[in-house]
Structure formats: structure tokens, C-alpha cells
């Protein structure tokens, strides 16, 4: 048992730190530090900076331009990225669809899609959930009917994150509704510009436009956009979920949040309550810190098992549950620190170009928006209830 970094790893850490000091676009860093909402172009520029460094494909195999990093390197990178307040990588292309394509796609598909994903030239979104297929994803109904060398797609996908920016959507569609419901599902890539695709915004409780409903009306999709075998989409999607699990605990981000929370608490801002002397609040904060440390080691144990060749098993659901619970708790503690300045709703002060005095301390009003918005993290990616079902059934055999 040992978690000391080797000399090479320390050198790598230094390299990552240098990257964030020099190559992370300054204006984007500034926006992040001020809590300004990022635009599409900001995400792309930041991801291209990573790409230029050769670090865009963190979980990709080297042959496709991936980093080939060890678990420890990924851990180091994640911590430095969070410390630098870097934006999350928009996961749909780089983290979600790419592994399916490089694992199950044919050569033509790999050549056609992977380079543009790696370079963030093309924006992807994820079309799994439907109005009536959430937790029970396998009951999805969006239909793809073969017609010559095309599929004709009809149906509705929902909760499509950042679909308003997307060029492409990867979908689970039903190509057969006779057998077991998991069996007739296929994995299809659809160009969002195809006639019949329409995107309709859904506004979330923090007042932002992050998710969408995507409608498909007689959308003609070339059959060559099918990944792997017809009817195998469910299996592929499950493999993808394993990839998604890497980093799902978001430990590094929570560590950075905790550090920033402590800075707020110690800032002696005269517009805020003195929280340092509030033993009840401080108890909650320290308990969050303890829980986070435990989770960090839980994650390291899972990662180390993975690096010795074991696939992350169902026990990694613990990462999703605990990771989201801690993040949500930290969001809540920020609201507590903001005090009554958590009340004002002033989205304009978090838009690019806002100049002038903020209402309350700069960070304060946004704490509510973040707290509200992040109620999603225990809902998406398989709800925490579903994760507990997985643990109780697949780990505990109940």
C-alpha cells in the first residue's frame, strides 16, 4: 500500500501545472474564476488547447491519438485541472461516443469520426433518454426502420444536454420490438442537420438552457451510420457506461470546491456572516471533508484495481452515489456561506461582458443557481436510486 508519486510522476505533475499556467486560455480562466457562464466557443477553445498539447483523448488508446496515461497520471491531471479551475470537458464526444466508435466501429467510421472528436471540431450530444424511458432506458421507443440503405427514424429524445450546440447526436434506437426489450436496440449516429431533426429547449430550475428535447420526424439516416451490429446497441451502451464511470466521482472537482469554500469562510467579507465561529456549520464542512477523503481513497482503490486489469465492477456505483452526494452537500454549504445574498437572482452579472458592481459578494448569488442546477447530478447518469439497486442486487446479491 503506497500512494507516493514516483519521480516520473512528479515530473508529469510539473508538466501539467505548466500547461495550466501557460496554455489554458487566460480569458477562459478569468471567466471560470468569476463564475461567468461559458459560451460554446469557450468550450471549444479550451478543448482545442488540450488537443494541441496532445491531451484531449484522456481515456483513448494511443493508436487513435489518446494519451495512454496510467491511472495515476489521470489522477494527477484531474487534480491539477480542478485546481486550475478548468472547465469540465464536454463529455459526449471525447468521453462517451468515442470509446464506442473505437471499440465497436468499423475502420471507415473510426477514420471519419475520431479525428474530429479528438480535435473538438464536431460537437456531439447524447440521445438515450426519452420522455417515457428514463431509469428504464431499455423501454425506449424511438424507431429506426430500415429502408434500402437508410434508416427512417421517428421518435423523441429528451434531456439532451447542450443539444442546441450539437452537430451530431448518438442515439439508442429501436430496430426491433419483438424479443426482449434490450435486444432490439441499436446504436445510431445522426447528423443534426438532417431534415426532420428539431431541437426544443427545456429550461431548468436555475433558469438556464442546458437541456433539450430532440424530435425526429421521418429522419433519413444512412445505414453506414450504424455502429456495430443491429440489435447490439444495449451492449455497447453498457460498455460506454464503464468508461463514463472513470472520474464520475468528481473527487478532484470536489476537492477544489472544498478549498474554495474554505477560502470563502476565511475571507472576512463584511457582507457575509462569520461562519468560522459557527460550530454547526464548521462541523458540516469538516464532515464533508472527511467523507471526501474517504471517497478519494475509494476511488483510488477502484482505479488501482482497474489498472491491474480488472474492469470496474458494479461496486463503482458507490463512486457515483457518494461523489454526487458530496458535491451536492458542498453546493449547499456555499449557499449557507452566501447567507441572504444567496437570494438575489441576477443572471446578468454572470454573463460575459458584465461590468459594474455585483449584487452582494461576486460569488454569492450564483451559489443558489449552482445548488439548484446540481440537483441533476443525483438524477442523470443513472439515478442514485438505480445505483443503489445495482449495489444491492449485483454486489450484495439481494
Amino acid at each position: 500500500m503506497n500512494i507516493d508519486l514516483t519521480e516520473q510522476e512528479l515530473a508529469f505533475q510539473k508538466e501539467v501545472q505548466d500547461f495550466f499556467a501557460n496554455d489554458f486560455p487566460k480569458d477562459i480562466k478569468d471567466k471560470q474564476d468569476k463564475g461567468i457562464y461559458l459560451k460554446k466557443d469557450d468550450h471549444i477553445r479550451w478543448q482545442k488547447a488540450l488537443y494541441n498539447k496532445g491531451w484531449a483523448g484522456i481515456n483513448w488508446p494511443v493508436e487513435h491519438g489518446g494519451t495512454g496515461w496510467t491511472a495515476t497520471q489521470k489522477y494527477i491531471y484531474a487534480n491539477e485541472a480542478a485546481k486550475a479551475n478548468a472547465p469540465r470537458i464536454v463529455p459526449f464526444g471525447l468521453t462517451m461516443v468515442a470509446p464506442v466508435i473505437f471499440t465497436y466501429g468499423n475502420d471507415e467510421q473510426k477514420q471519419r469520426f475520431l479525428p474530429d472528436i479528438l480535435a473538438s471540431n464536431v460537437w456531439w450530444c447524447q440521445g438515450y433518454s426519452e420522455p417515457n424511458a428514463g431509469s428504464d432506458l431499455a423501454s425506449l421507443k424511438t424507431k429506426a426502420v430500415r429502408d434500402g440503405d437508410h434508416y427512417i427514424v421517428n421518435g423523441t429524445k429528451t434531456w439532451t444536454t447542450l443539444g442546441q450546440h450539437a452537430d451530431w447526436i448518438f442515439c439508442l434506437v429501436r430496430t426491433d420490438d419483438t424479443g426482449r426489450k434490450q435486444q432490439g436496440i441499436s446504436f445510431l449516429l445522426i447528423d443534426m442537420k438532417t431534415p426532420g431533426v428539431s431541437v426544443h429547449p427545456i429550461i431548468t430550475i436555475d433558469g438556464t438552457h442546458e437541456v433539450n428535447e430532440v424530435h425526429f420526424e421521418d429522419v433519413r439516416v444512412p445505414a453506414e451510420n450504424l455502429i456495430g451490429q443491429e440489435g447490439q446497441g444495449w451492449t455497447y451502451a453498457k460498455v460506454l457506461l464503464t468508461h463514463e464511470r472513470t472520474g464520475i466521482a468528481r473527487v478532484a472537482e470536489s476537492k477544489a470546491l472544498l478549498a474554495s469554500l474554505k477560502r470563502m469562510v476565511n475571507s472576512d467579507n463584511d457582507q457575509l456572516m462569520n461562519m468560522k465561529d459557527n460550530a454547526v456549520f464548521m462541523t458540516r464542512l469538516i464532515e464533508a471533508e472527511i467523507e471526501l477523503k474517504a471517497l478519494e481513497y475509494t476511488e483510488l482503490r477502484v482505479l488501482s484495481a482497474v489498472s491491474t486489469g480488472k474492469a470496474p465492477g458494479p461496486e463503482s456505483s458507490i463512486l457515483k452515489i457518494k461523489g454526487t452526494e458530496i458535491m451536492q452537500l458542498l453546493n449547499e454549504l456555499f449557499v449557507e456561506v452566501a447567507g441572504i445574498y444567496a437570494l438575489p437572482y441576477v443572471p446578468e452579472q454572470y454573463q460575459d461582458g458584465f461590468e459594474g458592481d455585483t449584487v452582494g459578494p461576486r460569488f454569492a448569488p450564483k451559489t443558489s443557481a449552482t445548488y439548484y442546477n446540481n440537483r441533476k447530478v443525483s438524477i442523470y447518469g443513472g439515478t442514485n436510486e438505480i445505483q443503489k439497486n445495482i449495489i444491492s442486487k449485483q454486489v450484495l446479491g439481494l
Partner: protein, 376 residues
């Protein structure tokens, strides 16, 4: 022992629940909230007609003479409708303070138009560093030859932008932390040197930051007696805690109902999700939290209405218990609605947001629990 409602309380409950049902569905509320003022003056005048504005005001001032035992009943119903009209800040805080603290002349001049619905007065007590304990405030009113000069800033004053006048709590003598030496001033919102930065709040209501730069006032601007405002304001704030708790209980009732309804109709895995025992237990927990919160509400309301020795402590206990329940019920209501729970479209998220802001007002759960620990 008797927890049944008296005639006035029944009347209030009926009129409020009818109003919400007939004229305040969620879409109507949404429109009001998004409108320029954020509420309807017509509704406000209706509240006057229904006697709601008069409820906590003494009978000899033209009011109904109700206590918190009466106002919480109304508040529960208003909570269920997520009512955006400024009943809490302008009546339960502002008018309430005038009623209990103002001189007879001041009551005469101020309460009439308030009860008619033609004038609004809000309470400007809170400052970012001290939203509840007014002994800590930094806004100062310095004595001059013929009056006072106010300097300072009030934070997140509810409906500041809609008030004709503000009741401004300021230090007139003594030092930070002293209970004596605090006074309340009646200041017109147009007064030179006073500026209001109004905004919407996260729960779809309105508030503003109010800045005072050499606001010069005559001695007649002092509400009630000089230097003696701590007790009366503190009492109004404690009653405020009870009243906010009433609203929170109404909201939690609604959330428990809405969530139950949703679990009965939403199907996944070929069954209503309410068939899953994990969710049944969660709902049962929500229900119990709500009931415990309600019991605490009645306890603190009775103590407060009677002004029992320990009523202050009862109010702090209430804020803690309500805070715990509101957090659990609000978060779980959203969680059990899945993705729908985090949409702006559904009312659930809006009830959740209101519960969150109620916690931050007048000292949060963490604040009051810490005070209880310190004094234990």
C-alpha cells in the same frame, strides 16, 4: 388540549384556499412572478377586502387582532399557492412593527392606508453579515441638531422596490452588540440619499439592496421611541420566523401531495414508480418530516402567541426543525420527480427553491442551531 381551528382561523383558511384554487393556479403565478412588478396590485386590494391585511393588526386600529396562531393558518395556504404578493414583508413584518411599536399618531397616519391596500411599508433590518441579530447591524443614524443622518446599507430587503416607505433599523447610540441604542426610522423611498437596487430573487419574488448616503431626517421620522427598538423589532422577527415556518409547512404539504401523485402516475419498468419500496419509504420519510415540522410550528406558535418566557428559544428550535424538514422534503421531491423535478416547467422545483430561500431568511438553520448550542 385543542388543536382545532376557531372561527376566524377557519374563515382565513377557507378564503385563502378558495382564492388559490380559483385564481392562483401555477401558470397564473408564473406570469405574475415574471411581470414587471412581480405581483398583482389587484390581488393586493383583494387581500385587503378579504381582511388578510388587517389580520395581525389590533382591533382598535381597524384590524382583526389576530396572533401568529391566526396568521400561520393563512401563511400555510399562501405557501401552497407560492403567492408572490408581499404579504410577509409588508404586513407580517412592516405593518406588524408599526402596530406594536409606533406612537398613536403614527399608527393613525400609517395603518389606515396600509389596511386599505393603498400603501406598502417594508422592514429594512437585514445586513449581509447579520440577517437576524439586529444588535450587530452597522447602519448608523447620527443625531444632529434637528434630527438624524443615516449612513449604511441594508441587504436583500424584501420588496424594497415596491414599498412607499421603509422601516429602517439603525444604531442611534451605544456600540455594536448592544441591545439598547437601536431605533427605527420611517423613510420614504424617494428620500434624497436613499437608493434602491431592486432585483428578482431565486424564488421568483422581489427584493433590493438599499443604500443610505447622508439621508437627513427630522426627529419625527423616529418610529416609536428612540433607542428602544431592539425588543419590538426582535419580537416582530421572531413572529416572522413562525410565519415563515407556516408558509414552509404549506409548501411541504403541497410537495408531499405532488410527489405522491407523481409516483402514482409515472411508470418505469412496467409499474408505477410508487410501487418501488425504496421510494415508498422515502415518501414516508418526507411525510414524517413534514408532520414533525408542523408539530414544531404549533409548539412555537403557541409559545409566541402567549409570549411565554422561552418563546425566543422555541422560535430558534422551530427554525432548525423547519430547516431540516424543508431541506429533506424539498430535495427529495425534486429527486423523486427525476429529470422533471429540475425543470422550470413543473411547480415542484419552484416550491423547492422557495423552501431554500425561507431557510436563508431571518437566520438559517445552521445559525439558529449554533445559537442554541451556545446557550445550552
Amino acid at each position: 388540549m385543542d388543536f382545532s381551528l376557531n372561527d376566524i382561523q377557519e374563515m382565513m383558511r377557507d378564503s385563502a384556499s378558495k382564492f388559490i384554487q380559483k385564481e392562483y393556479d401555477f401558470e397564473t403565478r408564473r406570469k405574475l412572478s415574471k411581470s414587471e412588478d412581480g405581483f398583482s396590485q389587484k390581488n393586493w386590494e383583494l387581500f385587503a377586502e378579504l381582511g388578510w391585511l388587517a389580520l395581525p393588526i389590533d382591533e382598535d386600529q381597524g384590524g382583526i387582532g389576530g396572533t401568529v396562531l391566526d396568521t400561520i393558518i393563512l401563511q400555510e395556504e399562501l405557501g401552497k399557492g407560492l403567492v408572490v404578493e408581499p404579504y410577509f414583508p409588508c404586513i407580517l413584518l412592516g405593518a406588524n412593527l408599526i402596530n406594536s411599536f409606533a406612537s398613536d399618531e403614527q399608527k393613525e397616519a400609517l395603518l389606515g392606508p396600509i389596511l386599505e391596500g393603498s400603501k406598502k411599508i417594508t422592514l429594512a433590518h437585514s445586513e449581509g453579515h447579520s440577517p437576524f441579530d439586529i444588535s450587530q447591524i452597522k447602519t448608523v443614524a447620527e443625531k444632529t441638531n434637528n434630527g438624524f443622518v443615516i449612513n449604511g446599507k441594508k441587504s436583500v430587503v424584501l420588496n424594497a422596490q415596491h414599498a412607499d416607505e421603509l422601516l429602517v433599523v439603525a444604531r442611534t447610540s451605544g456600540n455594536t452588540g448592544d441591545k439598547s441604542g437601536l431605533s427605527v426610522f420611517v423613510v420614504s423611498k424617494d428620500h434624497p440619499g436613499l437608493s434602491i437596487r431592486g432585483y428578482e430573487t431565486n424564488d421568483g419574488l422581489r427584493a433590493g439592496d438599499v443604500t443610505f448616503v447622508n439621508v437627513t431626517l427630522g426627529a419625527e421620522a423616529v418610529l416609536g421611541t428612540l433607542d428602544d427598538a431592539f425588543g419590538p423589532v426582535q419580537k416582530v422577527l421572531l413572529e416572522g420566523i413562525v410565519n415563515l415556518a407556516g408558509e414552509a409547512v404549506g409548501i411541504m404539504e403541497k410537495l408531499v401531495d405532488l410527489t405522491g401523485e407523481y409516483l402514482r402516475i409515472r411508470e418505469q419498468f412496467n409499474a408505477p414508480i410508487g410501487k418501488f419500496q425504496a421510494l415508498q419509504h422515502r415518501c414516508a420519510d418526507m411525510f414524517m418530516e413534514k408532520e414533525q415540522a408542523k408539530s414544531m410550528l404549533y409548539f412555537a406558535a403557541i409559545e409566541t402567541a402567549k409570549q411565554n418566557d422561552d418563546y425566543e428559544k422555541a422560535c430558534a428550535m422551530l427554525k432548525v426543525r423547519i430547516g431540516n424538514a424543508a431541506r429533506f422534503v424539498g430535495q427529495q421531491a425534486v429527486q423523486l420527480h427525476g429529470g422533471m423535478g429540475v425543470t422550470d416547467e413543473l411547480s415542484v422545483g419552484h416550491y423547492f427553491k422557495r423552501l431554500t430561500t425561507l431557510n436563508a431568511m431571518l437566520g438559517s438553520r445552521d445559525y439558529h442551531l449554533n445559537e442554541l448550542v451556545k446557550s445550552a
